[in-house]
Amino acid sequence: MTSTATGGPLTAEGLGARVQAFLADHDPASTDRLKFLRARFDAGLAWVHYPEGLGGLGADPSLQPGVDAAFAAAGAPDNRPHTNIIGLGMAAPTILRFGTPEQQRRWLRPLWTGEEIWCQLFSEPGAGSDLANVATSAKPAGDEWVVNGQKVWTSLAHDATWAILVTRTDPAQPKHRGLTFFVCAMDSPGVDVRPLRQITGESEFNEVYLDDVRVPDAQRLGEVGQGWAVTQNTLMNERVAIGGGTIPRESGAIGELVKVWRERPELRTPGQHDQVLRFWVEAEAGRLTAERLGQQQAAGMPGPEGSGVKLTHARLNQQISSFELDLLGDEALRYTDYSARRPVLVTHSESPANWRFLRAKGNSIEGGTSEIMRNIIAERVLGLPAEARADKDTPWKDLPR
């Protein structure tokens, strides 16, 4: 029984009924977690806007929060989405859009249930913001490709079963052509994952060395040479992932600051008061801007404000945490642990202020630098001329590096 079979589009009520029916058949209290999640997927109640047979029912995406809430209310296990951010946010929409039916059947279910974690092999040391400047090569060898190169800033690579991978298959083409997109098994011979240590002391990210790694052509997503189109689609999904739901007032960096300000009056000085209020105003303005963006998206008018929200978020995280250290004074000079290690997942507020200060420096770099965000706004929103560039039509192999 599907939405189309019953004649009309699925409504919130209709979906609610399905959830209740499912819960009646699968008692969350007594069903094995994985078994429960697989069944939920098979019932089309995983991501309801996905097609039937792939975890969804072709419903409107706005109905998803209601479904999730109903499962949560019943005490059902979730798929721990924060452990598979790249899988759910980037790999899945890409597989849905560009994958063959076989690929979709193979990958989407264990991705959604969290049985298989995904990572992303896009960034390279020589590329930076110029993401298309991929040097990792893939050369055909029978029904396989042989991949060589180095990727960087790969989160979850040490946990991942699969990676989405961009490679250069034709260096004689200009930069944005000649790229091809694959799915790569992270346990393939020649894949070497090394932790990349960051300024906090920990290693959230990895470098991944690819040394004669063989990837079956059956794991190609999209056509040979169309990797840039696939990549851009993937990245667009990353940016859309912002928004959704009311953001609490005083969440994030400002919340930490005002907590200290309220709870520790002995730290306050007169000269800092107006600055605290300035930050409060900026943070609240930023929050309402994100709220408004969410409303626009919900109304089917996704605006370009996302780049601005990201810019502001990065700037405020940095400025506010820096100010918090000044407020804390001597206490801020004590750190917790610089030793090389994998980070433990904790909420931001459990982290010490100076860890948050250091970590925030990455916010204006990761996921598109603040400079790239400003270019995007100036060119795509304001319509100002693009930067002069010399790399668009020259064969990639002939570009200076």
């Binding site: 306050r268 008061h273 409060w280 303005a285 309402l288 709220e291 409303q295 626009q296 601005g308 400003r374």
Partner: protein, 367 residues
């Protein structure tokens, strides 16, 4: 941690879009910037003709109910009009009459002036200095016997006012603009598109409109702050548009100016600020329209933020136009003077931040 109030609708409704289109079309015909500039050097600094046209489409009392003769809309729609008037730096008494005075008359349940104000036949103004923040003390006009005495300097929208609403202690009086003993002296104002007036009351007879009106005056000033924020938003948007248009055609060193990345990034930053100004201005209008308990926070937030954004937009507009932006014969100075004047009007950003300190429990150093 303060609780998160319901956000409400921050977008523009179809009705609001239509209203905007009507007002903009009217302003394009009757409120071009060169006419606005020329008018600042005449004795008639208010465009009464334009105001009459705006009143015809309901702008004189949007947030007044139909029973009271108003348009039966809300402060949301009024805020949209304020945006358009800000874009045009229009010399009309919208903020004073349709904003401050109307809000005050509604709040005290006044029945005589309001219907005339609503149909556009009468302009009213709140007789307080334009810089008065919500909750700040108002000038000491006093009642001696039955007559009013005192001075109120720098009142907005009193040039074209027929009636002045005068706070006297906790009372509110209405005084006819032509009353004996009342002197109205228009002053050379920083922003001549909203010329201020000094009032002197020397044995003036007024009509008691309400007692116990202090709270209503504060509420009216708060509504004014909400509308002013939208006016600032509109002005900021216009400054950005004008600047982008200019940079898209002006060449220096053989290149379109708008292709220089440093300028692009500054305009991108300004655009981001304007998206924020829009969000806080809309939130304030929504709170005003729905009577949200968060209105005091929303109004202070909107003023604290939009004042800064409008000034920055006007400043970038001048700077990025180069020399021409510094001349009298370019509109940039009208925006700058309006933006600076607005930043001080109804309380500076710093005053509004100080108000937020109380409202959201962020106190200063303990005494």
């Amino acid at each position: 941690m303060t609780a998160t109030p319901v956000t409400g609708d921050l977008l523009y409704s179809e009705i609001e879009d239509d209203l905007r289109a009507s007002v903009r079309s009217l302003l394009e015909k009757q409120g071009a910037w060169d006419a606005v500039l020329a008018r600042t050097e005449t004795d008639e600094t208010v465009d009464r003709e334009l105001w009459a046209r705006l009143a015809e489409i309901g702008c004189a009392a949007l947030a007044v109910s139909e029973e009271q003769g108003g348009a039966g809309a809300s402060w949301r729609e009024a805020a949209v009009v304020a945006e358009e008037l800000g874009r045009a730096v229009a010399p009309v008494p919208f903020l004073g009459s349709a904003g401050l005075a109307a809000a005050l008359l509604v709040a005290v349940g006044e029945q005589e002036i309001l219907p005339q104000l609503a149909e556009g036949g009468l302009v009213a103004a709140l007789a307080v200095p334009f810089g008065t923040a919500p909750g700040a003390p108002t000038p000491a006009v006093e009642l001696r016997g039955e007559l009013l005495h005192g001075t109120v300097r720098g009142v907005a929208d009193a040039v074209a006012a027929d009636v002045l609403l005068v706070p006297v202690g906790n009372d509110l009086y209405a005084v006819g603009a032509e009353a004996d003993g009342l002197t109205r002296t228009p002053i050379v104002s920083l922003d001549m598109t909203r010329q201020l007036v000094d009032l002197t009351l020397d044995s003036v007879r007024g009509r008691l409109v309400a007692s116990d009106a202090e709270g209503a005056v504060t509420d009216a000033l708060r509504i004014g702050a909400v509308l002013l924020a939208s006016e600032q938003l509109g002005l900021a948007e216009r400054c950005l548009e004008t600047t982008v248009e200019y940079l898209a055609i002006r060449r220096q060193f053989g290149r379109i100016l708008g292709s220089y990345q440093a300028l692009k990034h500054r305009l991108a930053d300004l655009w981001v600020l304007i998206t924020q100004a829009r969000a806080v201005a809309r939130y304030a209008a929504e709170c005003a329209a729905t009577g949200s308990a968060d209105l005091p926070v929303a109004a202070a937030l909107a003023q604290a933020h939009c004042s800064v954004v409008a000034q920055q937009a006007a400043e970038e507009c001048i700077q990025l136009h180069g020399g021409i932006g510094f001349t009298w014969e370019h509109p940039a100075h009208l925006y700058l003077k309006r933006a600076k004047s607005n930043a001080i009007a109804l309380g500076t950003p710093e005053r509004h931040r100080a108000a937020l300190a109380e409202l959201v429990d962020l106190p200063g150093v303990p005494a």
